[in-house]
Symmetry: C2
Subunit: 420 residues, 2 copies
Amino acid sequence: MEETLTGNILVAQSGGPSAVINASLAGVITEALNHECIEEIYGGLNGVEGILNEQLIDLAAESQQTVRGLCTTPASALGTCRYKLKSERDFARIIDVFKAHNIRYFFYIGGNDSQDTANKIAECAKSSGYELRVIGIPKTIDNDLPVTDHCPGYGSVVKYLCTSIRELALDHESMGNHDLVSIVEVMGRNAGWIAAGTSVAKRRNQPEDAPHIILLPEVAFNADYFLSQVQECLKKNKFCLVVASEGIIDANGNYVAAADAHDSFGHSQLGGVGEYLQQLVAKNLPGVRARSCKLGHAQRCAEQCASQTDSNEAFMCGQMAVRAAVNGESGKMVALIRGDTEKYTCETTLTELSSVANGVKHFPENWISDDKISVSYQFNKYVMPLLQGEVQVPYENGLPAYVRLSKERIQPKLAPYAAE
Amino acid sequence: MEETLTGNILVAQSGGPSAVINASLAGVITEALNHECIEEIYGGLNGVEGILNEQLIDLAAESQQTVRGLCTTPASALGTCRYKLKSERDFARIIDVFKAHNIRYFFYIGGNDSQDTANKIAECAKSSGYELRVIGIPKTIDNDLPVTDHCPGYGSVVKYLCTSIRELALDHESMGNHDLVSIVEVMGRNAGWIAAGTSVAKRRNQPEDAPHIILLPEVAFNADYFLSQVQECLKKNKFCLVVASEGIIDANGNYVAAADAHDSFGHSQLGGVGEYLQQLVAKNLPGVRARSCKLGHAQRCAEQCASQTDSNEAFMCGQMAVRAAVNGESGKMVALIRGDTEKYTCETTLTELSSVANGVKHFPENWISDDKISVSYQFNKYVMPLLQGEVQVPYENGLPAYVRLSKERIQPKLAPYAAE
């Protein structure tokens, strides 16, 4: 055990929100209260962007009810940002803010970029001789962080999508005897983790269940092959549900949807993959009805469909980050490790921030089936435990009662910062 | 009380599915078991289309568990159709099928078209001297059936959309200090009931809450006015959530999305209203981020977010239909009436099928606010009670366990029917 470091903590959130990123925040706050060396619990608004501007709030002033409510509230309660610290001046300013408020513990909840930022802040503090402990807390629905077995946020988006796909499938199956193709566009621009996850919407041993075709960004899209697979599926089922990652690319590495919009209409923004595939089917398979839906950002913040396992693990990551820092660790990210047992267990470990920063965990090639439109049983075994249990969202007057932080501001101590 | 009519019942579903149409089916089956005059309980597959083809199943053979499960299973368990009986020959065939299977009670669960079909079948039976009791059971997420205070299916779609909008709003609000416009395209091609319903996603007394702009098909769309309203909202909130009915029209009565696609690209199918508005904002408001999502058919079958009040009322409609028929009624539809009390109560009554068939209940003009982009408190009072309570979907292995009928077929007794 390291020497006790007494001071204040600062926690912030970064990158795209998720259904469970606030559970990690709750984990940090709850655990921080257990340690005498921690004096004040501050939150930074809108990630490093807010910290640069000294936008800090007093998290200890939030009610117990609100902190508990964070575990069932989606999105980033502290606000988030996609700002990248640009210069030495930026980093020096961060350290100045930390010094001004005696921040000795910094926790950054986010994905690849955020872990990189946390790493750089840790290095900057060290090189300037300011004693600071920095721990990263993993979060990304994309599930593409290295080292960690999986990422908080991923299980919930998969649970939501699988639920919606089961419901859509029942809807479409009930629509009678007409050939119907339904496209569901899902997130995950560069990695197929999310699209692949929808494979478990199939009931066990029911190969005729939706989704029938999964288009991954790892597999070059071929329109002819796709249409032939759709036709084969329609022959068997009269109905074909296609899950398409928003980021599917053609053999030349161009995004499929953007490419088409460019070629035919001279602009690149119109339509997503769902619309594109819907048109492709409508034009090439006469008599077949085609539909698409784009759940958009609704999929990453669907608390009413979130996984309790995911939420618990997100909370645990927050807790363990604080424990690690209090124990003297710094420059690390909390990572999840899966037990080697038949029954799923999950614990945390620590990994160097530098080993995570800006790295990407690709979807394993050997989990993609030979037909290139489905995934292996090994993947299903990987993903199923992450969906278990249902977050119980409190309702009020018929609608989910999500909490908002009261955001009691900490008086700034520095002159305003002028960004470059 | 009429003379007892002994025989079999047939129940079928028609039109677009909903989250609670199966609860009405469960209501029919459950109530039918209480009456000795009812001998067999048959289901017709795919509405009148299946009945023409003598595709009947034995609903009494379904397990109790399955029938109970129908109350928490979305879409049409019997299958549905959009087929319109075309000729006297079609109607005569229906009566022949009824005679062959001694069907003396016919229940048709559906919207405007379906009630019209039920009405014609009732008339046809009467004119051919075949004793048959026909009761319609209302269902439509569009909420546009005349006479009935509201329609089973409507409360659940509104509850789902309001939940998703609250979640999207938290997501977008947390995305920092950039102007952001988010478009949510919702169903309801010809009436604004669904779009209007999303207004209650706002927390009480929080006018800054989403949705900020609601575009109803009843209000002619004006791009300039829309953009000015968006800008005004961004000034206040930095974030503007727009709910757009898929059926909004311009001053000439043309669908907004289809019109644009025609004019600019020479085809009418590409893109929905959401994509169109996203482009409109992106092109005309530089520096503003625009996003859209299209929940599509996911919104009408979202059982995991369904209203218990809605489900209970759907079940009650099925029950009351059977009671009415057993009591000698025919040629009627079950309608919901709201009690005159402060606390919401709901009972059923009967209305002539002819008063409902093909009629439409428009969204009341005086519930549209003067700004044309919001709705009145009177409407909120109307819709809130319909969202109360949460359907408890059973989960199995992390995903909703929806039931499927085993569909034990009844042996056909007639020669196959050749459609014209």
